[in-house]
């Protein structure tokens, strides 16, 4: 009997979404390291993520 490992692999679309969040995270981390107060508030993080991962992409899509 041969044992076959199966991996739950993300689709191309999943990876694209993940890439977008990684980009947003990189900017957030850069801001946070430069201005440490940026890291303290969950609400600041939430507002930033809404802008970076939903508002801006929505506006760009609307313009296109």
């Amino acid at each position: 009997m041969r044992l076959r490992l199966s991996f739950d692999r993300p689709s191309r679309r999943d990876l694209t979404v993940f890439g977008g969040y990684c980009l947003a995270a990189a900017v957030y981390i850069a801001f946070g390291v430069a201005w440490i107060d940026f890291l303290f508030s969950f609400w600041v993080g939430l507002g930033y993520l809404l802008a970076a991962a939903w508002l801006v992409p929505s506006l760009v899509r609307r313009q296109a």
Binding site: Y21, G32, G45, L49, A53, W54, L55
Partner: protein, 239 residues
């Protein structure tokens, strides 16, 4: 105390409980023990005045103090209020599970938590140093140099391993269906924004973990000390 685990644990719990829990109260429960106390542990400045607990560890985790917020009975009490007063058993139970996760995780440090309050015994396994009394920045440096941050890392890795929990499909099939809060919010907020809201705590916890690690070890060069109870370069508080 933990800096990112309380953001990340709800996703691990969600993965295993699926429709049996509601995510929002789970997250609120996970944050709840520190909601009213953290600012007074670290202290704030209001003009010429500094407001800070004279004994931060006692105030945060002890009795007399607000340590009861880290007990199991607190989670049960608030959960019952949510259930009986606001009429949602799902929200009550979910809050309770999130609060339990917080209280148990914080028993990992040197002060620990009064899990069985009103019995005031502190359960603590001393894996990492409690340094809240040293102020926010030193506490961050110490936390991100000891085993506490490694415990956070476990949840980051587990969350990424369980990546389907973070997908929009999972949101639609489980998160949205489990809790009437999401359809209600969807009347005012588009579905795309709801998915972002759902992912926010994982994003916040993971990004903050990376940022604080860079701050502590690339910018400031605090030494790692992953020994039990470390880092030992900071004065750890005890009950």
């Amino acid at each position: 105390m933990s800096w990112a685990a309380h953001d990340l644990e709800p996703y691990a719990i969600q993965k295993h409980m699926r429709l049996k829990v509601a995510f929002v109260p789970l997250l609120i429960g996970s944050y709840s023990p520190d909601m009213m106390t953290k600012w007074f542990v670290y202290g704030i400045h209001l003009g010429p005045w500094e407001l800070k607990a004279s004994d931060p560890a006692q105030f945060h985790r002890g009795w007399p103090g607000f340590g009861f917020t880290h007990s199991l009975v607190y989670g049960v009490a608030i959960g019952l209020i949510i259930w009986k007063v606001f009429g949602s058993k799902l929200w009550g139970v979910s809050f309770c599970i999130g609060q339990f996760a917080h209280a148990i995780t914080d028993a990992g440090d040197t002060v620990g938590t009064m899990l069985l309050f009103p019995w005031t015994f502190h359960f603590h396994i001393d894996a990492w140093a409690y340094a809240g009394q040293t102020g926010r920045m030193t506490d961050a440096a110490a936390y991100f140099s000891g085993l506490g941050c490694m415990w956070d890392l476990v949840f980051i890795v587990y969350g990424l391993y369980s990546w389907r929990v973070l997908t929009s499909r999972y949101f639609d099939e489980v998160i949205y269906r489990a809790d009437a809060f999401w359809p209600w919010l969807n009347r005012f907020v588009p579905r795309g924004a709801l998915v972002v809201l759902y992912r926010a705590a994982f994003f916040y916890g993971t990004s903050r973990w990376i940022a604080w690690t860079i701050w502590a070890h690339v910018i400031h060069h605090y030494p790692y000390d992953l020994s039990w109870g470390g880092p030992h370069w900071v004065p750890a508080a005890h009950p």
